[in-house]
């Protein structure tokens, strides 16, 4: 092989090596997923923060009973009259809150209040407002749920649970 041909071959090999290196570098950079720290934190805490806050609030239209007290009453004897029953008032308040928060943020969620695995209030599903946001905690991927027990002495505990689905 003539010398000049050998030199050109050498140049060609260098260009080839640089190109291959370039392709690997681009492939590595492009496939790196962007950081989602804030989003992960927000959804991870959302269920817990929501339930914690919800149980504490008082209902001015119902003699300032707390949600926790309304849940107790709804699970037991429904003595409280607001004039609506404690169960109806409870649902009303919770729906108002979810309308201004989870629905507004297009969050997919499923909210239940159960005593011994029986619903004491019809579950609230984001899908009731927007089908695309429907949440099925048994089958969908979910974030950490928020749940708290409400003691209903002597009948046991009522579990308030909010599942957030990843959609």
């Amino acid at each position: 092989m003539k010398r000049s041909q050998a030199e050109i071959m050498g140049l060609a090999i260098i260009v080839l090596l640089i190109s291959v290196g370039f392709i690997f570098y681009v492939a590595f950079t492009v496939t790196k997923t962007p950081s989602r720290v804030a989003e992960v934190y927000k959804y991870d805490q959302m269920g817990e923060n929501m339930v914690n806050a919800l149980l504490e609030i008082t209902v001015p239209d119902c003699e300032d009973y707390s949600i926790e007290q309304l849940i107790s009453d709804c699970a037991m004897q429904e003595r409280i009259r607001c004039p609506a029953s404690s169960c109806d008032e409870l649902r009303d308040v919770i729906e108002t809150i979810f309308e201004g928060t989870l629905n507004h943020w297009y969050v997919s969620y499923y909210f239940t209040i159960k005593k011994d695995d029986n619903d004491i209030m019809t579950p609230i599903n984001a899908g009731d407002y927007n089908e695309e946001r429907s949440c099925d905690p048994e089958n969908d991927e979910t974030e950490r749920p928020g749940w708290l027990p409400v003691s209903v002495f002597p009948y046991g505990d009522v579990i308030v649970r909010l599942d957030i689905c990843r959609k």
């Binding site: 570098y25 927000k42 805490q45 806050a53 919800l54 504490e56 609030i57 809150i97």
Partner: protein, 187 residues
């Protein structure tokens, strides 16, 4: 004959020299493009790090605000989670505007809050006087708003559900605490 040979030799030398120069030039061009590419990917990497830092800052501010004794509800040193005492909130807000401590408070708390906006709105009971404006939008109770530079990019707004406790009436409303962190973008 000798002249022809000399001329031919000279031409060969020039060609050889030109060849060497061409190789060097091609190499410099390759290195140059390589450096430009390296620089731009570095910039991309730094921008991504900056975006992540903004998000981390937002989470950090949320944690700070959620745990500040200046804001949270407590009874006999027992602190309530996810609860803001609205009388404390109002006094805290006034601290930044006070003659005696305004400057010191701003210098002190910028260390914790940075370039951010922190405020809450009341969700329930909805429509209470003082909680909605004339157009029916929730009123923003702003604690801190330090968005000083227009050339900034922001994190997503972090929202934290909170109880808004009025210790005088002992009423507890449902609200959302918002935290939005700003950061300079790299051009």
């Amino acid at each position: 004959m000798k002249n022809r040979q000399a001329l031919s030799s000279s031409k060969k030398a020039q060609i050889k020299f030109g060849e060497t120069i061409a190789i060097v030039v091609v190499f410099i061009v390759l290195v140059f493009f390589g450096l430009i590419f390296f620089g731009s990917t570095q910039k991309e990497g730094i921008q991504e790090q900056l975006r992540e830092k903004v998000q981390l800052d937002a989470v950090s501010v949320v944690k700070e605000v959620s745990n500040m004794p200046e804001l949270h509800c407590s009874i006999a040193q027992v602190e309530e989670l996810n609860c803001i005492d609205i009388t404390k909130f109002a006094s805290f807000k006034r601290l930044f505007e006070s003659d005696i401590y305004g400057n010191q408070a701003n210098m002190s708390y910028i260390h914790y809050f940075g370039d951010s906006k922190i405020y809450y709105t009341q969700v329930y009971p909805a429509g209470e006087p003082g909680e909605v404006d004339d157009e029916g939008n929730p009123v923003e109770h702003v604690l801190w708003d330090n968005h000083i530079d227009e050339n900034t990019e922001s994190s997503d707004e972090m929202q934290v559900p909170v109880v808004l406790h009025n210790p005088v009436t002992d009423r507890r409303a449902f609200g959302i605490l918002f935290v939005k962190v700003y950061s300079r973008s790299i051009e």
